[in-house]
């Protein structure tokens, strides 16, 4: 059991001068009130820094050492800071101190600082190996998130509900760590290794005797092959872990720069749109050029039609005149020149009656009709084509493409403005890298499955050869084989125990989380329990048995807090809960319920809170005798904060 006794900071965050928090020995809650920017998160980070030597921001992001230096002091050229943490662990008192001093006048990077760390037990300074081992045992880094957390970390637990999520898998591994699963799992793995070592020893011994030599050699070979696959599997697992860590890092970075990532996406889309608009403009301009080549015909259509009508009129008149002339001639000569036949008298009378008055035969050749017919024929050759509709369509498309280009230009300018001072190519490269890493992770998963299958094949071969060796056993081999059998039997027990323990844990965590959830929720009449999945993700179950599939951000936090408390209640590893501003998404009723529940979540609870989240009088009323101490963070200047006792 780990408990905090005292935190002392100087030069860290807004704490330019020495600032001290004393945590009472007895079980209960210590509350630290502070407005925004006063240094609540810095106090949480000071505890993290003491344990891990890493400067954190919100969530689990690490930052440069320089960002932890008090800005007032840094402006005066003082970059030194000290973080001291007094603890009690398994009955012993410890003092953990980290002192950071600059190596250069104006340090920038972590390499520009020197860190001195000391862990004292009862006044005696421990060596580095013992210090590292003890700090790891007190608060392993991968489980620190269950002891020291803020609203952002609480938000991450929703990932546990997504079974294929890798970050959910990492969190559930950390949960199993805090719950002690690694003790049994390590035992299983170590027994496996020892059993294989014993199998190798048996095989080696067997190969010395003629009767068992062949089986012994085959067994040795099978063990060697298995070992090779096991090493490859380990290599692949390390590779996968590295890839997952890299992906997490990039995703965190991209999340942090989400606004820039969005701007890059907009920039890329706008550039594509602009390119497309320009291409359309080129195509439409070319279509317009072709259409305009024929457009003059449209302009001439009316005059050509008029000329044609006039020519047709002239030709018609000329033909009429010719016909009249021929008739007059036929009447006068009683002979038709066209058909070269005589015209009987009665026909001549009928013809004369059909003639207009004063009709006379034409004596000269009339070329007017011929010319008019020739014009008509020429004008018929004028191909009239109305391209006005086509020109209108193409022009409209061209105009739209120009508008699209201008609009895309506007979006490009906006995105560039957002990205000012940032390298979009770097962010773009990171996004590309993320996609590539996704592919590599997939391949690594496949390779791991393949290796596991190959190891399984070798295990079967080793088991078969071991049976053969036992059947052909010699007295010299008996001792080796007995050791091998004992190890294998113990391994089988631990193998089974891992799953059994995990199943029991899930049931216990589910039960504890349900109790805490029902204490904290304001919908007690509606909800019956929480249901746990294989990854320790919790789902709210209604009284009618229905699972709640869309819970609010506030409900997410209440469920996450229930999980935190349940882990504390069931973990072999126990320690304080330090929570920074965890009520951001909760309404006053839920906040009050959570505060009331705090004493049952862990023996020692430190709550960093702003009075906007909950009033001091309310905290006192809700916690009663469980409230051990209250501090407040007072603004001295914009960069300096003082800690004082509030009660």
């Amino acid at each position: 059991m780990l408990t905090l006794r005292r935190l002392e900071v100087e030069g860290f965050g807004p704490y330019a001068d020495q600032a001290v928090l004393e945590f009472p020995d007895e079980p209960g809650v210590t509350v630290i009130y502070g407005d925004n920017m006063r240094g609540k998160t810095s106090l949480m980070n000071a505890i993290r820094y003491a344990f891990f030597g890493e400067v954190h921001g919100r969530g689990d992001r690490t930052r440069r050492i320089l960002t932890a230096c008090n800005r007032d002091l840094a402006a005066a050229g003082i970059y030194r800071f000290t973080v001291g943490l007094s603890l009690r662990y398994e009955g012993d008192n410890f003092d953990l101190i980290r002192v950071v001093t600059p190596k250069v006048g104006a340090p920038e990077n972590d390499e520009d600082f020197t860190t001195t760390v000391a862990l004292r037990r009862g006044g005696i300074v421990l060596g580095p190996t013992e210090r590292t081992a003890l700090l790891h045992a007190m608060l392993p880094k991968d489980v620190a998130r269950f002891f020291l957390f803020d609203g952002e970390l609480l938000d991450q637990y929703a990932e546990l509900l997504i079974s294929e999520s890798d970050s959910g898998r990492l969190i559930s591994e950390a949960i199993e760590h805090i719950l002690g699963v690694p003790v049994i799992r390590d035992a299983r793995d170590h027994l496996t290794m020892l059993a294989l070592k014993a199998s190798r020893a048996s095989a080696k011994e067997a190969s010395k005797h003629q009767k068992t030599e062949a089986i012994g050699n085959a067994l040795q070979e099978a063990n060697d092959i298995r070992e090779a696959h096991k090493q490859e599997l380990e290599r692949k697992n390390v590779e996968l872990a590295d890839l997952l860590a890299e992906r997490d890092e990039i995703e965190t970075e991209l999340r942090r720069q989400e606004i820039y990532a969005v701007a890059i996406e907009r920039l890329d889309t706008a550039r594509k749109d602009r390119k497309r608009a320009r291409k359309i403009q080129e195509a439409k301009a070319s279509e317009l050029k072709v259409a305009m080549r024929e457009a003059w015909r449209t302009l001439l259509a009316r005059p050509v039609a008029a000329a044609k009508a006039e020519a047709q009129g002239i030709a018609k008149d000329a033909v009429a005149r010719l016909v009249t002339s021929l008739r007059v001639d036929a009447i006068e000569s009683n002979h038709c020149r066209i058909c070269d036949q005589s015209v009987p008298k009665e026909v001549g009378v009928r013809l004369a009656a059909s003639l207009p008055e004063n009709a006379t035969p034409t004596r000269s050749v009339d070329y007017t009709g011929m010319t008019a017919l020739a014009w008509t024929s020429e004008l018929d050759g004028f191909k009239q084509k109305d391209v006005r509709a086509e020109v209108r369509l193409v022009s409209e498309a061209l105009r739209q493409a120009r508008i699209d280009e201008a609009e895309a230009e506007g979006r490009i300018a906006d995105a560039n403005k957002t990205l000012e001072g940032h390298d979009p190519d770097e962010l773009r490269r990171r996004k590309t890298t993320l996609t590539e890493i996704g592919g590599k992770i997939h391949a690594a998963h496949d390779a791991i499955k393949d290796e596991q299958k190959l190891i399984g094949d070798q295990d079967a071969a080793i088991a078969r050869l071991t049976r053969q060796l036992e059947n052909a056993g010699t007295p010299e081999l008996a001792a080796f084989q007995l050791r091998e059998r004992v190890l294998a039997r113990a391994r089988a027990v631990f193998e089974n125990a891992v799953e059994r323990y995990k199943a029991e844990l899930r049931a216990r965590v589910e039960d504890s989380a349900t109790k805490l959830f029902l204490q904290m929720t304001t919908e007690k009449h509606e909800y019956a329990s929480l249901s746990i999945n294989d990854h320790y993700g919790l789902t709210i179950i209604h009284k009618d048995g229905r699972a709640e599939d869309s819970r609010s951000a506030g409900a997410e936090q209440v469920v996450a807090l229930s999980l935190m408390g349940a882990l504390q209640a069931n973990a072999p590893l126990r320690g304080p809960i330090v929570m920074d501003t965890p009520f951001g998404r909760l309404d006053p009723h839920h906040t009050a319920n959570v505060v009331k529940t705090l004493p049952s979540m862990a023996e020692q609870v430190v709550l960093l809170v702003q009075e906007g989240e909950i009033e001091r009088a309310t905290v006192r009323e809700l916690l009663g005798s469980h409230l051990l101490k209250e501090y407040q963070l007072d603004k001295q200047t914009a960069r300096r904060t003082l800690i004082s006792e509030a009660r």
């Binding site: 294998a488 113990a490 089974n496 125990a497």
Partner: protein, 83 residues
Amino acid sequence: MTKIERKHLMLAVLASRDEIDPDLETGLLEAIVNAEADAFGDSDTAMRAIDSAVTDAIERRGYLQEAKPTTDAANVNGTEGEA
């Protein structure tokens, strides 16, 4: 990890033993859990302690009964048969 906290782990191990290999002695299993809990995160130390616990168990032969044949699936090295 305190003794009380180890108790949960040990109970799961003993329940597993009762289920799949009831003849395996409690002393050995307890020694293995203690070895892992004491040397948590230090594989070499844990394996040395387990190795030595197995040697002790074999020496206490009277306390370690051999199991009936078990299935290959639960038994990587095929430890069936009599001692």
